[in-house]
């Protein structure tokens, strides 16, 4: 008996109803984005859910990329650098903390655990953060925004790493120590490679989070010329230009990276986002 045979007739009916509803509620908005992005300007301004009379998707993509001397291309580069650098640093630093926090029982543990939870729950104080960034001379710079993302993202990563390190047997550490590995070798050559699956999860989930972030970019890297893709889209929208086809082409373009992530790392995203669902 294969799995498909176990689906009863009722399952087929419920499934069809669910497919129709899901299509209307969840897919139509995406199709709308796509169709509007493919239309000419006058047609798009009617905001109708209709087939484009003329397919101009590629022309629209070219035009939106050339707008204002390629401001969107620059913001894509910025977002890519921001995402890669902040997630890379976040992963290494959080793995170090999660590892020691799980392995070593000390009187610091309750404090560190509390700080991790606080970082997860407490909303950051934005204006004082700007004040600190100004003091460091990195306000309105990409390194400043990277540092902010690292600081705010650490907590979530530490929790995942801590839970995963618990599944790696201590005997492995002991064997490496007997072979003469120091603490650094032990962590970076023995333990860190074993964390691979959780590292992938953390990278994927945090990349999507950092790439999609709008609030922190708005506060800490404001401006028109040198910002992230989310801020560029926001600026396009708030300038109130009625070039709907270009606006939706931009929406389409910034939806592509998460879509690619989802297609390739479906399982890791699900694992990362539901961690804690079972044990609470």
């Amino acid at each position: 008996m294969s799995g498909i045979n176990r689906v009863k007739p009722r399952g087929v009916i419920v499934g069809v109803v669910a497919i129709v509803l899901a299509t209307v509620v969840f897919i139509v908005p995406f199709v709308f984005i796509f169709l509007t992005a493919a239309k000419g300007q006058t047609e798009a301004s009617l905001l109708q859910f209709s087939w484009p009379t003329e397919w101009l998707l590629l022309d629209n993509v070219r035009e939106v990329l050339e707008t204002r001397d390629g401001i969107l291309v620059r913001s894509f580069v910025n977002s890519a650098v921001l995402t890669v650098v902040s997630v890379a640093i976040m992963v290494v630093l959080a793995a170090m903390v999660g590892y020691v926090l799980q392995r070593r029982q000390s009187r610091w543990n309750p404090l560190v655990n509390m700080l991790v939870l606080a970082g997860l729950i407490i909303p950051p104080a934005v204006v004082p953060t700007i004040w600190v960034l100004q003091g460091l001379g990195i306000f309105k710079t990409l390194p400043g925004l990277i540092a902010v993302h690292i600081a705010f993202g650490l907590s979530f990563c530490i929790l995942l790493f801590k839970a995963f390190v618990a599944t790696i047997p201590r005997e492995l550490d002991e064997a490496a120590l007997i072979d003469g590995a120091g603490p650094l070798r032990l962590f970076f050559s023995v333990v860190f490679p074993l964390l691979r699956s959780v590292i992938v999860t953390v990278i994927v989930v945090q990349s999507v989070t950092v790439f999609n972030d709008f609030t922190y970019a708005l506060y800490f890297l404001p401006g028109e010329e040198n910002s992230t893709v989310q801020l560029t889209l926001y600026n396009f929208q708030s300038q109130g230009l009625n070039q709907w086809s270009l606006l939706f082409t931009d929406v389409l373009l910034i939806t592509v990276p998460p879509l690619i992530m989802y297609i390739f790392f479906n399982r890791q995203i699900v694992a990362g986002m539901t961690s804690g669902a079972v044990k609470g």
């Binding site: 170090m96 070593r104 610091w108 104080a125 004082p128 600081a151 603490p183 079972v278 609470g280």
Partner: protein, 301 residues
């Protein structure tokens, strides 16, 4: 390990250098980021909230900012709206997430496809969602009111009517976030041992009884996670509201987070920071007791 270092006093120096393969200094690099960009600003906010703070100077004025925060109608509205928004989004995410979770773990066709479709909006940029739904919910040209008109219903001005604006944004938030709640419920429901359902079948339980007496109580950890995650997200929510309504019309859909941004833009840094302190207190005062209460109730059951 620590007792060993205490008892062997003469070799303490030597031992302390090699005492643990898990060095405490591993905390330091992460700790520096956390301390400088999270703890220091949070601590400093407690002082700056008590000042009149502009680009030029900082002047200590006591609790005036907080008095203003709870007296000016536009700011009070933001305070009240924050709770409304958080409770509406969490409530709907729990109910819809549970129903979708049950549906998508039952034997129906196209289950994998449906799971992907429901989940994908979680990964899409909030600004993209906001821009799109602002257009779809347009009172005159919008797709939703157009569709309602064909079946003879005159839809409200979703984002332009003060009575609807905040609720509409909350619905879009649910549209975007229900996939995560569903996923958490699926993980929770799949973890329920099949024996319970088999025993219930022997006893002749109906589908509804299965849901009421097995699925609902045993997916409780998932419920706790969904409630806490959506409360944290809902209370701090800013980007969706800001893209769709900018807190308007007027200030009817303002929340604390958008008030913080508006006051910051206007140059009232002290007042903005006071709003931030209020938000911190609100989030801590709701999330911490709720999570303790939910987890304790779970332990008793």
């Amino acid at each position: 390990m620590s007792t060993a270092t205490k008892t062997i006093a003469p070799r303490k120096r030597e031992r302390s250098r090699i005492k643990s393969p898990y060095p405490t200094w591993f905390y330091i690099p992460a700790g520096v980021f956390y301390l400088v960009l999270f703890l220091v600003p949070t601590g400093a906010s407690l002082y700056f909230a008590l000042t009149r703070w502009s680009i030029f100077d900082v002047e200590f004025i006591g609790i005036d900012n907080f008095v203003q925060f709870f007296q000016e109608p536009s700011l009070v509205k933001g305070f009240v709206n924050t709770f409304f928004y958080a409770f509406v989004t969490s409530g709907l995410k729990v109910v819809l997430g549970l129903l979708l979770g049950v549906l998508l773990t039952s034997q129906i066709i196209a289950r994998g496809f449906l799971r992907s479709v429901v989940f994908f909006p979680v990964l899409v940029s909030t600004i993209g969602v906001g821009v799109t739904f602002k257009v779809l919910l347009d009172p005159f040209d919008g797709l939703l009111n157009g569709a309602l008109a064909t079946i003879g219903i005159e839809g409200p001005g979703w984002l332009t009517d003060p009575a609807w604006a905040l609720f509409s944004v909350a619905l879009v938030d649910v549209w975007k976030g229900v996939g995560l709640a569903t996923l958490i419920y699926i993980a929770g429901i799949v973890a329920i041992p099949q024996e319970y359902y088999e025993a219930a079948r022997v006893d002749g339980a109906s589908g509804f009884q299965n849901f009421r007496f097995i699925t609902l109580p045993l997916s409780r950890p998932a419920t706790v996670t969904v409630i806490i995650l959506s409360l944290i997200g809902g209370l701090r929510s800013f980007d969706l509201i800001w893209t769709m309504t900018r807190g308007g019309p007027g200030f009817t859909s303002d929340v604390i987070a958008s008030v913080i941004y508006k006051q910051y833009q206007a140059g009232f840094y002290g007042l903005s920071t006071a709003g931030n302190v209020v938000l911190i207190v609100v989030v801590a005062a709701i999330v911490v007791p709720v999570s303790i209460w939910l987890n304790r109730k779970g332990a008793e059951a």
